[in-house]
């Protein structure tokens, strides 16, 4: 299992490995939105929490199809499925690797981009906390979506369509926590709910995803 994690991380960091894909996208969004919406700091401040969370979510979505698709194309997935590691473990490890290369950097980079979007002062800590709590759920849910669509050529859109509604609660609670904190209100309830979603997904979805993978391989 550790070998798999190490390999996935190594692949991500190798040239062209897609590390930073999510981060880059996040940055792009934070730059484009002010260009599109206009420079009014008032407006930007109001929409900042929402835009940052939407950006984080899209950044995850984009890097998702890489979780299994590449391994499927070059035949590694079949070999992994016939290896001694249980497929549930493979799914969990791959989702974890995805989180390390996408969710974690996003959470750490978010405060910098929040400055670009003029987020109000009290929101910063909650922003990091909510992303750290919420992105694991995004990776795990995404791994489930990727497992459902792995055999399909260009399953990208289909996966986005499947995963998107599943992401809604995470997005709402995450953005709400930051919005409330930025307004000086208490954001701990949505944070707790966020933690609940993450715990639930991490506990249950690997089984659903492994089931889907097994079906897709045959």
């Amino acid at each position: 299992m550790i070998a798999l994690l190490v390999r996935d991380l190594r692949l991500a960091f190798r040239a062209g490995g897609g590390f930073g894909l999510g981060l880059g996208f996040f940055l792009i969004l934070a730059v484009l939105v002010p260009l599109g919406v206009g420079p009014d700091p008032q407006v930007l401040g109001v929409i900042a929490p929402g835009i940052l969370w939407v950006g984080a979510l899209l950044a995850c979505l984009l890097s998702l199809d890489r979780i299994f698709a590449l391994d499927h194309e070059d035949g590694s997935l079949e070999l992994l499925a016939t290896s001694p590691i249980p497929l549930e473990g493979v799914v969990a490890v791959k989702a974890f690797a995805h989180w390390i290369t996408t969710g974690l950097p996003l959470a750490l980079a978010a405060p910098v981009l929040a400055i670009l979007l003029n987020l109000a002062g009290p929101g910063y800590l909650t922003l990091i906390a909510s992303l750290l709590l919420g992105t694991p759920a995004l990776s795990m849910i995404g791994a489930f979506g990727a497992a459902l669509t792995v055999g399909l050529k260009r399953g990208g859109l289909l996966m986005s369509l499947l995963v998107l509604p599943l992401y809604v609660p995470t997005l709402v609670f995450g953005a709400q926590a930051v919005t409330r904190a930025a307004q000086g209100l208490d954001g701990s309830t949505p944070l707790l709910l966020l933690a609940g979603i993450t715990a639930g997904s991490v506990a249950l979805l690997p089984f659903a995803a492994a089931f889907a993978l097994r079906i897709n391989l045959r």
Binding site: F144, L148, T149, G151, L152, G155, L158, L161, L162, L164, P165, L166, V168, P169, V172, F173, Q176, P190, L193, I197, L205, A208, F211, A212, I215, N216, R218
Partner: protein, 244 residues
């Protein structure tokens, strides 16, 4: 003794649905037509909302069926996953487009209603929002069915999606409520004391709701019959190809 599961046999199911489908279709047509005519011409205009209120006779039954269709798909998916009855999977497949259409009808009639009432076609009210999300769930489910060629694989995958999706649909509903306490009115047909709606509205509304329920049944049966025929054609073709 004939058990319920025997109807999971396609042949038995075809025989049963052969008469059940037209029967419920006719009943549905009668009930809906009566309900709508009564509702449109036999009820007084609302003192606040004028005649626009009458769209409720489409709006509410459609909304009801949109949710019930998903519930039915959930049950059918469970039956497929646990007992692997093919008719069950095909019924879930047939129900999805119908449920999606119902959701769309609820959304569109709501929008038509909202324009005079709230002065806007669309508002991000929690109820509307959760219906929009439900619509996305339907789209994803249908897309997954159509993207996979092998029917059993597709049935397995869509069933898992339906299970996981149901959990998240409920979560989304709470999230939407948490997000915005909206404009939309609450449950109007609650049996609790202080019911806000007059019987002169309720009676035709109930007719329409039962009619929509029967219409849903008829459509699902028809859809399932089509799917069964398609599977039969597939089996025959396979046999041909093996012979060749």
């Amino acid at each position: 003794m004939a058990s319920f599961w025997e109807y999971a046999n396609p042949v038995k199911f075809m025989r049963l649905s052969g008469w059940l489908m037209p029967l419920s279709a006719v009943l549905a047509a009668v009930l809906i037509v009566t309900g709508l005519l009564w509702g449109f011409f036999g009820t007084p205009d609302d003192y606040r909302q004028g005649s626009t209120v009458k769209i409720i006779f489409l709006h509410v039954p459609a909304a009801l069926m949109a949710i019930n269709a998903w519930a039915m798909m959930l049950v059918a998916s469970l039956i497929w996953l646990i007992r692997r009855h093919h008719v069950s999977a095909l019924a879930a497949k047939a129900a999805a487009p119908i449920g999606a259409t119902m959701t769309l009808i609820a959304l569109i009639t709501g929008a038509i209603w909202g324009q005079p009432m709230w002065g806007t076609w669309w508002a991000w009210d929690p109820r509307l929002t959760s219906f929009l999300i439900l619509f996305l769930f339907y789209l994803g489910y249908i897309a997954l069915w159509s993207a996979i060629e092998d029917p059993d694989t597709a049935a397995d995958l869509t069933s898992v999606l339906c299970l996981v999706g149901s959990v998240f649909a409920v979560l989304s509903r709470y999230a939407a409520l948490f997000w915005n306490q909206g404009l939309h009115q609450g449950a109007s047909l609650s049996v609790a004391p202080g019911t806000r709606m007059d019987w002169s509205y309720k009676a035709p509304l109930y007719l329409c709701m039962i009619g929509f329920g029967l219409m849903f049944l008829a459509l699902v049966l028809a859809g399932t019959r089509t799917e069964i025929r398609a599977r039969r054609a597939r089996a025959l073709l396979t046999r041909e190809r093996v012979r060749a």
